[in-house]
């Protein structure tokens, strides 16, 4: 039954073909390469579903696949590790393959409405970018080792850069693209160092199996396997350092504080790109990477604690900024940052399944919200300011109802998808916090507070956009959208409503029904891969490693936790309902006064980073330049000046008169003879 697994590389290669087709033949094709992209990602989706189905229905070793495809550097005695490209299919990557190819497929269809129907130019370039992105992201997902993961991690970053800067003739997009590239590259710098450290420490970068680096690290802590550690650190401390280095790349890509500043600017790109790259998939790459090597992070309580705190803080921090934004996509951008914070919180808090679950539901409902926003933007003739909208509810019902489903999921309202996943995130963090790791409660508190903010900004956005009276002429008579916009919205809307059913843990705990399907699915992989949930659970609970113990807070605690997050979400949503669901809403956030100014300026994070560049780096660079120019160059110039000066004096003995040369020769000979005579004792 390995037949389907042999086709896994094709999942990524199909979009690569569509990239080539769109790039070279796109302008001769009727839809400028869109059809090739749709066909390719559709094929990828079918294959991904087949692979996921095979994983779910097989048992034992057939439920996964871990093979090397191509070795580009053979290991030798001097360099005892090989660098290779491989395929790793286990439940986690199978799930992620389905998510990525599904969203990619729907975004391609949506692009027909958003790009082709709007008469954009440069479409072959656009579809080539989407194809290349889909290829890189899918290959990243099934990467079997961390070096391959790093390579495709960088490629998705490149595609992000290319697509944010799609409208390169305007002022904003190229600048936003550069910022996104530089900020994520800053994080990737640490990731690269981490990759090298992993190879230097373990001699392998493999993710799964008994020869994988997470397992070698586990054995090293047991004292069963020797590894190289550096900087004079013990094994546990050194593994923490490696984990934090890799986390640098994760924080850049998943837009975690303080490297989140690029994501709101990335909204300059076309909206389908925002939906695909900057909401559902590429930004998920960071979180996915942590989940991929969770067996490694589970060994280090410090790294987990940092992940949880960064996540919790980012969730709250980004949510507060989302409250005051005036543009539809900006609100969504901050909510994306905030939601990825939740996933990090879950990973750090020991809730591996919760994080993957939230990743899945978030990919669906956030892609839905972005595509819904794209639909609104088409209707509003590319005006994104929510204060110019209003009353769109009756004029574009399909967009409204699907957007509402996405918003309810985002805010975490029962029974939409987001409720189940966010509740599980908070619940897992809470029980581990109440158990052995009280520090997690800090992250939990921030995450819980952010729920209220999420409810508020989500429904402020919904009410301002769709409710009340139209505030401009365009909103009175919006441009209609076609099937290719509505189709993806409906698919995602249905999913956002129902996807929570894949992992209804609270119901299971209350009734005993065996319906935590995602949890079971993530445990289907072959035992030998050591990537199954129960293995991670053992690592987490082992006091030698993370030492996470779960407190038993019983059914009451479960209900209280769920009620708390639902209540806060409803409170936020209710406040938004009171303030903004009126025919003529006014900007109530003005009452925040100077706080609003602070929030509108994103806590001056951008200014701070610009200051870091111009106020700190430039003077240091100038000082270094001065040192180079004066000291280093001075020494070199000094040596040459001395030589030239000496040469100018000494050359005067070169008279050009041959007799003088003969005299000098004779003199030299006499002196030489005299010298040998004296030292040789002739006299």
């Amino acid at each position: 039954m390995t037949g389907i697994y042999d086709l896994v590389p094709a999942i990524a290669l199909l979009p690569l073909v569509s990239f080539v087709v769109a790039l070279f033949a796109g302008k001769y094709l009727p839809k400028k390469g869109a059809l090739a992209g749709i066909a390719a990602t559709g094929g990828s989706l079918v294959l991904s579903l087949l692979v996921a189905l095979t994983v779910a229905t097989s048992d034992g070793a057939n439920a996964g696949y871990n093979e090397t495809l191509y070795t580009f550097l053979e290991g030798s005695s001097s360099a005892p590790f090989s660098l290779e490209l491989g395929v790793l299919v286990d439940p986690l990557s199978a799930l992620m393959l389905v998510i990525v190819s599904l969203i990619s497929f729907l975004v391609h269809v949506f692009s027909l409405g958003y790009m082709n129907d709007e008469g954009e130019t440069g479409l072959p370039r656009y579809y080539a970018g989407l194809g290349l992105f889909s290829f890189s992201m899918l290959a990243f997902v099934f990467a079997s080792n961390i070096l391959m993961a790093f390579m495709f991690f960088e490629l998705v970053g490149l595609c992000s850069y290319l697509l944010i800067g799609f409208w390169f003739r305007e002022a904003g997009p190229p600048s936003a693209a550069k910022k996104a590239f530089l900020v994520t590259r800053f994080g990737d710098y640490f990731f690269l160092v981490g990759v090298v450290a992993i190879f230097a420490t373990f001699g392998t970068g493999a993710f799964a199996g008994s020869e994988s680096f997470p397992h070698l690290a586990e054995q090293a802590l047991h004292g069963e396997h020797a590894v190289n550690t550096f900087l004079g650190l013990g094994e546990q401390a050194w593994f923490t350092v490696i984990g934090l280095l890799v986390l640098g790349g994760v924080m850049g890509k998943s837009a975690q504080f303080p490297l989140h500043t690029w994501l709101p600017d990335a909204m300059e790109g076309p909206t389908p790109v925002s939906a695909l790259i900057h909401a559902a998939t590429m930004v998920a790459a960071g979180v996915f990477l942590v989940a991929r090597m969770y067996g490694f992070y589970a060994l280090s309580p410090t790294a987990l604690g940092v992940i949880a705190f960064v996540g919790g803080f980012t969730a709250l921090f980004a949510a507060t900024m989302g409250v005051v934004k005036q543009e539809l996509k900006q609100v969504l951008a901050y909510s994306t940052i905030s939601q990825y914070g939740y996933m990090m919180l879950a990973l750090g808090g020991g809730g591996y399944v919760a994080a993957v679950f939230h990743l899945t539901t978030h990919a669906v409902f956030k892609a839905l919200l972005f595509l819904g926003a794209g639909s609104v933007i088409i209707a509003m003739h590319h005006n994104e300011n929510m204060w110019d909208m209003g009353g769109l509810k009756d004029r574009m019902p399909v967009t409204y109802w699907t957007f509402l489903a996405g918003s309810l999921a985002l805010a975490g309202i029962f029974p939409f998808a987001g409720f189940w996943s966010k509740d599980e995130v908070l619940y897992e963090t809470l029980i581990h916090g109440l158990g052995e790791s009280p520090l997690l409660l800090g992250g939990y508190t921030m995450g819980l507070l952010a729920v209220a903010f999420t409810g508020f900004y989500t429904f402020r956005m919904v009410f301002l956009t769709f409710h009340g009276k139209p505030r401009t002429e365009v909103a009175e008579d919006p441009e209609p959208v076609r099937w290719n916009v509505k189709g993806p919205l409906v698919v995602l809307g249905v999913l956002a409503t129902t996807l929570g059913a894949i992992n209804m843990v609270p119901i299971k705990k209350l009734t005993g029904a065996d319906i935590d399907y995602l949890h079971q699915f993530l445990d289907y992989g072959p035992e030998a891969f050591l990537t199954n949930v129960h293995h991670y659970g053992e690592l987490l609970e082992n006091p030698e490693f993370a030492g996470y113990g779960a407190a038993d807070i019983g059914t009451t605690g479960l209900l209280v936790s769920a009620a708390l997050s639902l209540g806060l979400a409803l409170a936020g949503a209710g406040l938004a309902y009171r303030l903004y669901n009126v025919p003529e809403p006014v900007e109530h956030t003005d009452r925040l006064g100077r706080l609003k100014t602070l929030l509108m300026h994103n806590y001056y994070q951008d200014e701070f980073q610009v200051w870091l560049a111009t106020g700190l780096t430039v003077p240091v660079a100038k000082a270094a330049d001065t040192f180079d120019q004066s000291i280093i160059d001075g020494v070199v110039d000094g040596i040459s000046t001395v030589s030239r000066f000496a040469g100018r004096g000494v050359r005067r003995i070169q008279t050009g008169v041959v007799r003088n040369y003969a005299a000098l020769l004779t003199l030299g000979l006499v002196l030489l003879v005299a010298f040998f005579g004296v030292t040789g004792g002739w006299f």
Partner: protein, 100 residues
């Protein structure tokens, strides 16, 4: 048989005459002759030591020295001709352009 040191004295005297010619005279032709004297002083040394040691190598070397001297004269005369064409003189103190 004449003792070797007499040959050496002769050779030193011939060499010194040659050196004197180079250091004080100005004509290029005298130069050439002086160099010839110095070379031959060396040849006398070779032959004298050859005789002392009863070894023919020194004499063979003297033959090489004479061939060298002949070649040197051929080149030297060529240089002197060019010198005369350029400067209308064979006074070696006049051409001083071959310097910095």
């Amino acid at each position: 048989m004449i003792e070797t040191q007499w040959y050496l004295l002769l050779s030193a005297a011939v060499f010194s005459i040659g050196l004197f010619g180079i250091l004080v005279r100005e004509s290029a032709l005298i130069y050439l002759m002086s160099v010839e004297l110095m070379l031959n002083a060396a040849n006398i040394n070779f032959v004298a030591f050859s005789l002392q040691h009863g070894n023919l190598t020194g004499q063979v070397f003297a033959l090489f020295g004479m061939a060298l001297a002949a070649a040197e004269v051929a080149i030297g005369l060529g240089i002197i001709l060019v010198l005369y064409r350029n400067f209308e003189t064979i006074d070696v103190t006049v051409p001083t352009t071959m310097r910095w």
